[in-house]
């Protein structure tokens, strides 16, 4: 395929190398091309498709806002909840969005630490996605409470009543975890933006735009004495975000794991949730990046290699999730607690909501299996479809965990089946609008790809580019391989 030819062509330009790899930026583009390409997106007129997407998402956002106003002014009753299903779509959506919010930080942070250089062209968009997803997520726990005007009770502020919060409550942990996660993600994202903002600043004429970009660029001068601290800081944030990502969804899972409800009370939840989050997150990144790539023609920056890699991760995490599903059953059976076992039977086999379980299982476990084949991993339509499945599947997963469990609580006399109302549905759909609106605005005003970082991974960015001696460095830098890992085969080649 195209990628490989170009790659070899590029490789031919230098002396033959061992361990052929496609570079992350194709066709050996110069720095200025990269700047123009990416900044072009912002500076040129937006394609018609952008408007096609933007207008409806603004409308949806409006609807969402209306739903929340209605909710607050009238009562939580406008949703479908009932005893014993006191949480339903609200918390389902919260966990769903927060899950999506994981891939972003994960892609930038974890891949950065593991020196996966291929992250550079997707991390910016992914991080942005994180922020917007977390915004959507935050809406639900905030507004699902009965007395929104009293939520400040959650903040540990000294008060004349001398009342304090209950730090044993997982819900309070959530408050801290989610807000921290959001703040740190913002910082991480913004820090990455600074050099690119400088680029934009220097490209545009004096005026409001320049003022704004300039303001946020903080007077960046690309001085190396800055770069060296900057890189440390960036690395530190990455190092901080990684455990944070893991912690956030673990804490979310504590809401359920620490309860006594059969079907919730499981030690497997934290890893299971985190895997699920990464799973769903990556799927969402792809669902956003593939169209963006097409619309803005970023084929040279977002290469099949990227998509291929992400597909692999989806396959992996998807399988982990599948394992978790089956493990739950095994534990229920092995734990010999009839209540537990019955809960799972009711969930999957003969309960009122088995449909959701089937949807969950097929979307999350079966669909990704096609990614065992490289052809399909890089076949965009397939990838798109699978990712869509996964997005849906992850929502169903949360629904299964939350609603179907509560529908079949401990006392059969109180069992009831949940039915959503129009408000439930529209609110949820609305959040998608809110999410899309934010993302489109981001595309419109900020560099969708980290310019400086991409430049950093081009061959010519290497001070030793073209030096015949010691190819290792380029290999390492560009491909992100530990020297150790590739010396052996190289050595072999040399002796041959």
């Amino acid at each position: 395929m195209a990628a490989t030819d170009t790659a070899s062509a590029h490789a031919a330009s230098s002396t033959p190398v061992v361990l052929e790899r496609e570079p992350l930026v194709l066709n050996n583009r110069p720095f200025s091309w990269i700047s123009n390409r990416i900044c072009g997106i912002i500076e040129n007129k937006q394609p018609f498709l952008w408007w096609i997407l933007f207008v409806p998402s603004v409308i949806l956002t409006g609807i969402m806002a209306f739903c929340f106003v209605y909710l607050i002014s009238t009562g939580v009753g406008v949703w479908g909840q009932k005893q014993p299903v006191d949480w339903a779509w609200d918390i389902t959506n919260f966990v769903f969005w927060i899950g999506i919010g994981h891939a972003g930080t994960l892609i930038s942070a974890v891949l950065f630490l593991t020196r996966q250089k291929w992250r550079t062209s997707v991390n910016r968009a992914a991080e942005a996605m994180t922020l917007f997803a977390v915004m959507c997520a935050g809406l639900f726990p905030a507004f699902h409470v009965g007395r929104v005007w009293m939520v400040w009770f959650l903040a540990p502020i000294p008060n004349a009543n001398a009342i304090w919060q209950n730090f044993k409550s997982p819900l309070l942990w959530d408050v801290f975890a989610v807000s921290t996660y959001f703040t740190v993600s913002v910082i991480f994202w913004y820090l990455g933006l600074v050099p690119d903002l400088a680029t934009l600043r220097d490209r545009c004429k004096p005026g409001l735009k320049k003022a704004l970009y300039g303001l946020f660029a903080l007077g960046w001068r690309g001085a190396n004495r800055h770069w060296s601290h900057y890189e440390t800081a960036y690395m530190l944030l990455a190092a901080l975000s990684t455990p944070l990502v893991l912690s956030v969804h673990s804490v979310v899972s504590f809401d359920f794991a620490t309860s006594i409800v059969p079907g919730w009370h499981t030690t497997i939840f934290p890893p299971y949730f985190v895997a699920g989050a990464i799973f769903g997150g990556f799927a969402m990144v792809l669902t956003l990046m593939i169209p963006a790539r097409a619309i803005y023609g970023l084929h040279d920056l977002i290469t099949p290699k990227h998509i291929d890699n992400m597909a692999k991760i989806i396959l992996l995490t998807g399988t982990i999730v599948g394992y978790a599903y089956s493990m739950e059953f095994f534990m229920a059976y092995y734990g010999a607690n009839p209540f537990e076992l019955q809960t799972f039977k009711l969930r999957a086999l003969y309960g009122p909501s088995t449909f959701y379980y089937i949807m969950m299982f097929s979307c999350n476990v079966f669909a990704p299996q096609v990614f065992w084949f490289r052809k399909l991993r890089t076949h965009l339509p397939t990838v798109m479809v699978v990712c869509m499945c996964v997005n849906a599947g992850m929502w169903f997963e949360r629904y299964v965990i939350i609603v179907t469990t509560l529908e079949r609580h401990l006392v059969p006399g109180a069992w009831r089946v949940f039915h959503p109302t129009w408000v439930d549905v529209t609110t949820f759909v609305g959040t998608f609008g809110f999410f899309m609106m934010n993302f489109l605005l981001f595309l419109r005003f900020l560099p969708v790809i980290a310019i400086a970082e991409v430049k950093g991974v081009t061959p010519q960015a290497d001070p030793h580019h073209g030096d015949s001696h010691d190819h290792g460095i380029q290999e390492d830098d560009v491909m992100g391989y530990e020297p150790a890992s590739c010396t052996a085969p190289k050595g072999a080649a040399v002796t041959a």
Binding site: N159, A160, N161, I163, P206, K210, A211, G214, G219
Partner: protein, 278 residues
């Protein structure tokens, strides 16, 4: 191209940072002072329809609070007296005092028409707070602890903050407010007024009445005296008093009284929700 941003902008961040710090501190301080019951309630002194002077009645004349607020000891509410109560002294054919004083016009009117006097409420617990006067008065908490020295107020005003925190302080260490039941309505009472001899005798008799033998009772009391040694075991009341003298000093202290009463009356104020919220 020249600098787009003027030079002064370079100092902006620092200035802003400093400003923000001060503003934040200022705001929180302001809130803490102006928006807490200490400020919003304390000192509230509305004009009442009848220029009734607690200073004269409770202070100069030394009338007992319960003369008018007769149900305070038996009910949750401390009632405001009916006109009949006023007329016990001011009424024709009764006390005849200030029969036709214009100040009493509203009272007389009320009596005729039956339209009650609209007293303005000063101490107002929130709707979800269930305060009970009898529970406090019967267990050694004086009026003064919550209402201040009403006997010195021409017109009554809000004396304590009466915030939940304020309640909890006392509920957690009642010894700071407890006093002998005889002194409940004595707003001028000071611990120093207590005659140690009499006080301890009272305790002792109380314990004995409940079936403790003298020695145990003495030890029990002695060991409750502040800074008293664990093994303190006075043989007689005089011993006991002597011990207290040495440990506490010549004049009785609130802590001394409080601790004893708390222990020997088994004073255990509720400090969980249901005590006040239902």
């Amino acid at each position: 191209m020249g600098n787009f941003f003027p030079r002064w902008t370079n100092w902006l961040p620092l200035k802003l940072a400093i400003a923000v710090v001060f503003i934040v501190i200022g705001i929180s301080a302001g809130f803490a002072y102006y928006f807490t019951p200490k400020y919003t309630r304390v000192g509230y002194q509305p004009t009442q329809p009848v220029p009734f002077s607690h200073k004269i009645h409770a202070g100069q004349l030394g009338m007992d609070c319960r003369f008018c607020h007769s149900f305070a000891e038996t009910s949750s509410h401390s009632n405001v007296p009916t006109n009949q109560v006023c007329f016990n002294c001011h009424g024709a054919g009764k006390g005849q005092i200030k029969l036709n004083s214009p100040h009493l016009e509203p009272v007389r009117k009320a009596a005729e028409t039956g339209e009650p006097i609209h007293w303005v409420k000063i101490h107002k617990a929130p709707d979800f707070v269930y305060f009970n006067h009898s529970a406090h008065l019967n267990r050694g908490i004086s009026c003064v602890s919550c209402h201040g020295k009403v006997n010195e107020m021409e017109v009554v005003f809000h004396h304590e903050s009466q915030s939940m925190g304020w309640c909890l302080d006392c509920h957690r260490n009642p010894e700071e407010k407890l006093r002998p039941l005889s002194e409940i309505t004595n707003l001028n009472w000071k611990p120093a007024d207590v005659n140690r001899e009499v006080f301890y005798k009272g305790l002792l008799d109380g314990l004995k009445k409940e079936g403790a033998n003298e020695a145990d009772a003495l030890r029990d009391i002695a060991q409750t005296i502040p800074q008293a040694p664990k093994e303190a075991a006075p043989v007689s009341l005089t011993d006991l008093v002597a011990l207290a003298k040495t440990k506490v000093g010549d004049s009785v202290t609130q802590q001394e009284v409080g601790l004893q009463l708390k222990k020997h009356w088994l004073v255990q104020p509720p400090d969980t929700c249901t005590g006040c919220h239902r």
